[in-house]
Amino acid sequence: MDWITTVDHKKIAILYLWAGGIFFGIGGLEAILIRIQLIKPMNTFLDAQTFNELITMHGTTMIFLGVMPVIFALMNAVIPLQIGARDVAFPFLNALGFWTFLFGGILLNLSWVMGGAPDAGWTAYTPLSSTGYSPTHGVDFYTIGLQIAGLGTLIGGINFLATIITMRAPGMSFMRMPMFAWTTFITSAIILFAFPAITVGLVLLTFDRILDANFFNVAGGGNPVLWQHIFWIFGHPEVYILILPAFGVISEVIPTFSRKRLFGYSSMVFATILIAFLGFMVWAHHMFTTGLGPVANALFSVSTMLIAVPTGIKIFNWLFTMWGGQVRFTTPNLFAAGFIPTFTMGGVTGVMLASAPADFQFHDTYFVVAHFHYVIVGGLVLGLFAGLHYWWPKMFGRMLSETLGKWTFWTFIIGFHLTFFVQHFLGLMGMQRRVFTYLPNQQFDLLNLVSTIGAMLMGVGMLIFLTNIFLTSRRPADAADDPWEDGRTLEWTIPSPPPEYNFKQTPLVRGLDAFWKEKMAGHKAMTPSEPVGSIHMPSATILPFLMSVGIFIAGLGFMFSRDEFSSSIMSFLFNNYIVTALGLLITFGSMLMRSLFDDPGWHIEPEELEGR
């Protein structure tokens, strides 16, 4: 119950981590099943329909329900601490964002047991995703589940923007803000301007499917390419929503374990902003073969290649940070160091794909699959591993085992390169993506076998990581405030795990890497910027949970509103939108409660602060 009503950012972080971890596991299992099917030619392990459902759900789950929540977990756990705040700007909305994400994710995954998962690919291209080709409820689960989950992401984005703008500790100007806080800030801005586009896209597709609208239906005057534009004007910035937080993590981990400040801090900030800006200018590079014409293709080709410039600046800054530093290869730093070459390889194939004429050859082959897995797994997932190992002691008060951590790293990264490196060649040799099997003796057999073995090895790496978490959770929580001893930012100045009010006194920030600066001046702790006083805390509340339950019920009700049921009561409830109305009533009722009953919160008094 405590967990359902919490509004504390640190607990919400743990909820995000758990939920994201479970969805990540589901997405991973789906990947393993895909790889088992492709282990040999003409395999009959899965049929074509199941395979389509698996690749759709693997992509959708990993992007929206796996890595996004883990990113949000890190942001929630770290951002208020890094900027010296006692919570996010809107603790209530923070909880609401989590619960809408979770119920959206549950709705999407219910499709496995309620008559067929979505099967039109994670991009849900029309007309494949229209009722003509996808008559089951699969794509409805996709549109409505993602809609609900996306709501949570948007709420989280606005919350972090407001938090970072208004709640930084005294003295922390924007140019003294830690890099992870910067990337969170920019990521949240991208979320704010990208997610409403997919909101509209999903609404249009839902209307096409449930209300027989004609947006993408050519017979009614609609245009399927419109879906691609709307999807990718969101979908390309989404790539940067995913990768920028990883950049932020790497920019925290490498300086800490090199005992040097981040090389070129201000160029890092501006590179981040530039990447976000350019990220919105390049969506049509996903559509070179759609037939936009040579002028559009050339423009989008050039703008895409431009992104390599700020990204290159970042890569070199990380290398220069390590150069001449006292580098310690702890588990987080191993992942960070492994990230740099792996992500660079993904970037290089990105430039190859950005060349429109070459893309006509690479299009829809395993070369593309290899490219984006190098970016998303080799970039983002390695970044998340670095971040999780780095901040685990701060989140849970327990150090993860270094030995098991190193095993995780080596099995995972070797497995990763085995899986995806060979896929470049499979793609160049002409193996198509999204097909459920292939013919023997096309020279695909051996490389596919290698790829599947690699995927298994990545799975082993994940299991070692889980073992590490399990064993660690049985040990006493005795991590030091600054367990890596070279912590540079504010989160390392308070106990691990932090008390619910975070900072007894808001610290005074006197420079970039605030804690490091105090250490170098010979101080053991931060100078406080206020006397010890009564701390105002928001009350726990069940309303965010109820609102999300309401949206969940309304979504299910809307989805089945046109179905025929064997029982007349069910038909009556669904076909007259009674279930939908009931769900909306719960949501709006909760909103009304929130509006009418002000939350005065509660206070932690100074005596209590000293007592602990």
Binding site: D208, F215, G222
Partner: protein, 208 residues
């Protein structure tokens, strides 16, 4: 923050009560950000509409359909309601609670009239012109764009009504003031969107 609370307890409000507390300032800032997202939302809907506005699929076209005097009347009502919400905020800044409540009531009533006109307009199209959601890509885009705006108006009416109730119950405080302020921001935003709808959907439909 504590001084603002004390002032509120004494019955004297600061000049801009919506920005007197950190929560209030956060709320106003976050609402500006939210409106940025809403702008993208409507931008995408407008782009969709512009792409599909001539795809009538042998159904009625914009030129045959739209009746400008009706739409002009609706536009007038909504523009005036934006003005009355400005009056409401001015009254709030002067601490005139009764006047604030009355101007909010006028705003809600004008919004309701607008909504009634819109529902009437839609019903005419559906009943007499056989122009429904499924008729053509143009009709789908029209109902989705204008309907989204209408849903926003309906939500705004409910929201401001609840706030009027709250004002009667709790009075004007540093807690209620930011809510009223952001609801007025929302109402202006809806109004701005309507100006674009009037231009892009109706005027362009008639003459474009």
């Amino acid at each position: 923050m504590t001084t603002a609370h004390a002032e509120a307890a004494n019955g004297t409000l600061p000049h801009e009560p919506e920005k007197a507390t950190l929560e209030g300032r956060n709320k106003v800032l976050a609402f500006w950000l939210f409106l940025g997202g809403e702008a993208v939302l409507f931008g995408t809907l407008f782009a969709t509409f512009l792409a599909l506005r001539n795809q009538t699929n042998e159904g009625p076209s914009a030129n045959e359909l739209f009746h400008l005097p009706l739409v002009a009347a609706a536009t007038f009502l909504l523009l005036v309601s934006s003005l009355t919400s400005v009056f409401a905020i001015q009254a709030m800044h002067r601490g005139r609670v009764t006047m604030l409540r009355n101007w909010l009531l006028v705003t809600v009533l004008l919004g309701l009239c607008f909504l009634v006109l819109e529902i009437y307009e839609f019903s005419v199209y559906i009943r007499h012109e056989e122009f429904g959601m499924t008729t053509s890509a143009f009709s789908s885009a029209f109902y989705t764009l204008v309907g989204f705006h209408g849903a926003h108006v309906a939500f705004g009416i409910l929201w401001i009504s609840v706030l009027i109730g709250q004002l009667l119950h709790k009075g004007l405080t540093v807690v209620t003031a930011p809510k009223i302020y952001v609801s007025a921001m929302y109402w202006h935003f809806i109004d701005v969107v309507w100006v674009f709808i009037f231009t892009v959907v109706y005027l362009l439909g008639k003459v474009g």
